[in-house]
């Protein structure tokens, strides 16, 4: 068994995380109140820009060391796009959420 555990490809554990996260997403999203579906879209938009980590790796880490200017350019473009989304997405979400008020206020 020990040996078996060691021989498992790391991809499989990532796949496991992915599958479980799909289920978590399924249940969490069904719990979102329909009134907040627009903020849901803008916030999922913002968090999917976590793809910025790929851009940071390209710009910051090896791209320059390995001398690939093309990779660095693509990384930088991705960085700008993802950053627009992160700042824009979270800010517009909080602007929307600030508007939802209860009665009597």
């Amino acid at each position: 068994m020990e040996q078996l555990a060691h021989s498992i490809d790391p991809f499989i554990s990532l796949l496991g995380i992915f599958v479980l996260a799909v289920f978590v997403g399924y249940y969490v999203v069904w719990n979102v109140t329909p009134a907040l579906h627009t903020p849901l879209m803008s916030v999922t938009n913002a968090i999917s820009s976590v793809i910025i980590v790929g851009a940071l790796l390209a710009v910051g880490a090896g791209a320059i060391a390995s001398g690939s200017t093309i990779a660095m350019i693509f990384g930088f473009l991705a960085l700008v796009l993802a950053a627009i989304n992160i700042f824009g997405g979270f800010m517009v979400t909080s602007r929307m959420l600030a508007m939802y008020k209860k009665k009597g206020k």
């Binding site: 999203v29 979102v32 968090i47």
Partner: protein, 465 residues
């Protein structure tokens, strides 16, 4: 920073993103949820910087410069955008995620060592597939969202544009895409990589062009889902749990929203995606019927509503177009002062994106506990004196319940006709998106108020005030 610590921190950031969505289960907890989301993002970015340790001036300049550009553009957009433009803003943001995914995949392709996915310049075969999928989905998301943006923003006609033999073209492109993904997997050739991107860009364009404006709630949700799957694809390439968790969350979120929207229209996802349904300017379906409709003035409407006990307001896309939400809330305030109970009824597909009406009403300071979803309020129309329909049509059509021959038969509708009186604010007698007549217009207990939604509401306010 050790790789293990980084992995744990990425996991924390993924968990914070789950909490961010969890917060949206109620408006009261939503703001805190958004903070969780921002924290998660900050952790992911800082962890990556600590892990990658950029050396030298140029990388730091690029990183800080890139973030600053993003902060300025994103911040200004978020501050200035009017709430009525939210659907197109979300579509525009989706296109950025899609394009960013393509660029990250390209960066990984040209510097695979930086991402630790290659040995001796040969990219691991598994990473090649993930990279190809990430780039393909990202590219479809990009052009698809651009088209959705143009349609929602009115820069392109909302009417479906039907190419001859479009299904055949799409199938051929789809097969070609699979072929080149296999080719890329086999050869790691840059030509194959860019062909994958090019074909996917074309596919995104062709898939969304034939879909009509009012089906955009489904399209926007679907693209939301795609942007998630693209992020997950890149996440596998980078073996990054934050990306994988986020991709899965966003992917399922978008898929669920598309499902809810399709159910709200009683149409299958496939029929929406195939496109060609409806047209913005279907025009009046002139069947030679010239039955008289009862037309009223703002004064009539004001008088009747003032003397009512309960008024249920049904907003639709027309309210968004006319920006009538503030005038509407003012009207509700006047009515409440006269002792009238006012509620709002929201159809799931009212507007151009999920939750569109709720945001606009919230913007106009309508308390969210006065706003009800279809299944919660439908039984109350029978006790209501007045159903006040502003800029909605198809979602109130009794044909959906009564006429099995109608194209919208079976669609859940707001049963406004059960109220003692129904008022419609409309610019004219034209039919709605589905291109069919609404029999309610000719009923005896219906009062038609012809005019722009905002102007008409303001006139009602004048006679109420």
């Amino acid at each position: 920073m050790s790789a293990n610590l980084a992995a744990v921190l990425y996991l924390v950031s993924g968990a914070l993103f789950i909490m961010a969505l969890r917060g949206l289960s109620s408006p009261a907890t939503s703001r805190q949820g958004n903070l969780f989301g921002m924290t998660g993002m900050a952790i992911a970015v800082l962890t990556t910087l600590a892990l990658a340790r950029p050396v030298g001036l140029l990388p730091w300049a690029l990183i800080i410069g890139g973030l600053a550009i993003g902060a300025v553009i994103g911040g200004i957009t978020a501050k200035r955008i009017p709430m009525t433009a939210m659907p197109q803003l979300v579509a525009a943001f989706h296109s950025l995620v899609g394009l960013a995914a393509v660029f990250v995949a390209a960066a990984a392709f040209y510097a695979p060592d930086a991402f630790g996915i290659a040995s001796n310049g040969i990219i691991h075969s598994q990473s090649r597939i993930e990279m190809a999928l990430g780039a393909a989905i990202g590219a479809v998301t990009f052009t698809g969202s651009v088209i959705a943006f143009l349609k929602l923003d009115g820069r392109m006609s909302g009417a479906p544009i039907l190419l001859p033999a479009r299904h055949a073209i799409n199938i051929v492109l789809g097969l070609a895409l699979l072929f080149f993904i296999y080719g890329f997997f086999d050869s790691q050739s840059p030509i194959d990589f860019w062909l994958i991107v090019a074909i996917s860009l074309a596919l995104g364009l062709l898939l969304i062009v034939p879909i009509g404006g009012a089906d955009m709630p489904v399209v926007v949700s679907m693209l939301n889902s795609y942007s998630g799957w693209a992020a997950a694809g890149i996440g596998f390439t980078l073996a990054n749990t934050a990306l994988i968790i986020t991709g899965a969350l966003v992917g399922s979120s978008g898929a669920i929203l598309s499902y809810i929207m399709c159910k709200g229209m009683n149409r299958s996802f496939l029929s929406v995606i195939m496109g060609g349904f409806g047209g913005e300017s279907a025009g009046p379906a002139a069947k030679g019927e010239t039955k008289p409709v009862k037309q009223g003035s703002a004064d009539d409407a004001a008088f009747m509503m003032k003397n009512a006990e309960t008024v249920i307001i049904v907003p639709g896309y027309g309210m968004a177009v006319a920006q009538a939400q503030h005038a509407l809330r003012e009207m509700a305030d006047h009515l409440k002062k006269s002792g009238v109970t006012v509620k709002y009824a929201i159809h799931p597909v009212a507007g151009r994106m999920p939750g569109h009406m709720n945001v606009l009403l919230a913007e106009a300071n309508v308390p969210y506990d006065e706003v009800f979803e279809l299944e919660d309020i439908n039984s109350e129309f029978a006790q209501a004196d007045i159903a006040f329909v502003i800029g909605a049509n198809d979602v109130t059509n009794p044909a959906a319940k009564e006429d099995p021959a109608s194209p919208i038969y079976g669609m859940p509708v707001l049963e406004v006709w059960k109220a003692k009186t129904v008022m419609f604010i409309k610019r004219g007698m034209s039919s709605g998106y589905a291109g069919i007549d609404n029999g309610l217009f000719w009923r005896d207990n219906t009062l038609m108020l012809f005019g722009d939604a905002k102007k008409m509401t303001e006139e009602i306010n004048k006679s109420l005030g």
